[in-house]
Amino acid sequence: MIIIQAGPEHFRFEISWEEKELLNVIRLYPHVPAAHHRLTKGRRIPDGAENQQLLEYALQSQREENRQLVAALLNEPARFAEIETGFRVDFTRGEIEWLLQVLNDVRVGSWIALGSPAGHPEMQPGLSNETLSHIMTMDVAGFFEMAFLHALTGEPLTGDA
């Protein structure tokens, strides 16, 4: 996936056939369990239960919105213009922003499914087909995240936090 044009608000990419297939990873969205999000670690927040519920409503509403955007993107074949080497596709800055949220949800969801390992999941003992599938999903989501972040910042990027 390469960026071939970057304006302040519009970005044009070329992606290969294989990468377009891999982009289907966003179909897994939402992947992070809803119960994963906690407002606080302490218990000293006023109206803690009510505020926790507000957070859950806000995230639920955002998940629904993003889920519809994902479905719309994947059901819009005209968005991907076929070229000799694969496809050309345009995204706005706003679309990249929600795609980043979606991709990171998929990445974090797979990491949680792996048991939230502290180190590189590839190095964990007991790899199975299921865990390998989660690891591959994490890597694919991370690949697209880096490509989009590179487009936004204009700089080559590396590394996990």
């Binding site: 806000a58 995230l59 955002q62 980043l100 994490m138 880096m146 990027l157 590394g159 936090a161």
Partner: protein, 103 residues
């Protein structure tokens, strides 16, 4: 029908008294971001820039703090604003929480 004259009452403005929102509100809530090793460093930096409007340098400083120390204090705010920030950060799936500042 004759118009009724209504006396206009305006609030008295005292130029010596100003409302300082930051001083009047309880800013005793902390927004903390915790380390989830799955998150890409560039992604965390981007989210801090987007949510707080920080420049790259400041966002990277906090990202590195999360990475090295396991957490970073991102903001000290009144309850509503702190909650707003936590909601925004969690929309990006960063592990952010709201904590009461120690008295």
């Amino acid at each position: 029908m004759p118009a009724t004259a209504t006396p206009e009452v305006l609030p008295r403005i005292d130029p010596d008294r100003r409302t300082d929102s930051s001083a009047d509100l309880d800013s005793g809530y902390l927004v903390i971001c915790w380390d989830d090793p799955v998150n890409l460093m560039a992604y965390v930096t981007h989210v801090f820039q987007t949510v707080f409007g920080w420049n790259r340098q400041r966002a990277e400083r906090h990202m590195l703090e999360v990475h090295k120390n396991g957490k970073s204090l991102l903001a000290r705010e009144h309850l509503e604003k702190a909650e707003f920030y936590v909601h925004q950060l969690q929309k990006y799936n960063l592990h952010a929480t709201l904590e009461r500042d120690a008295p």
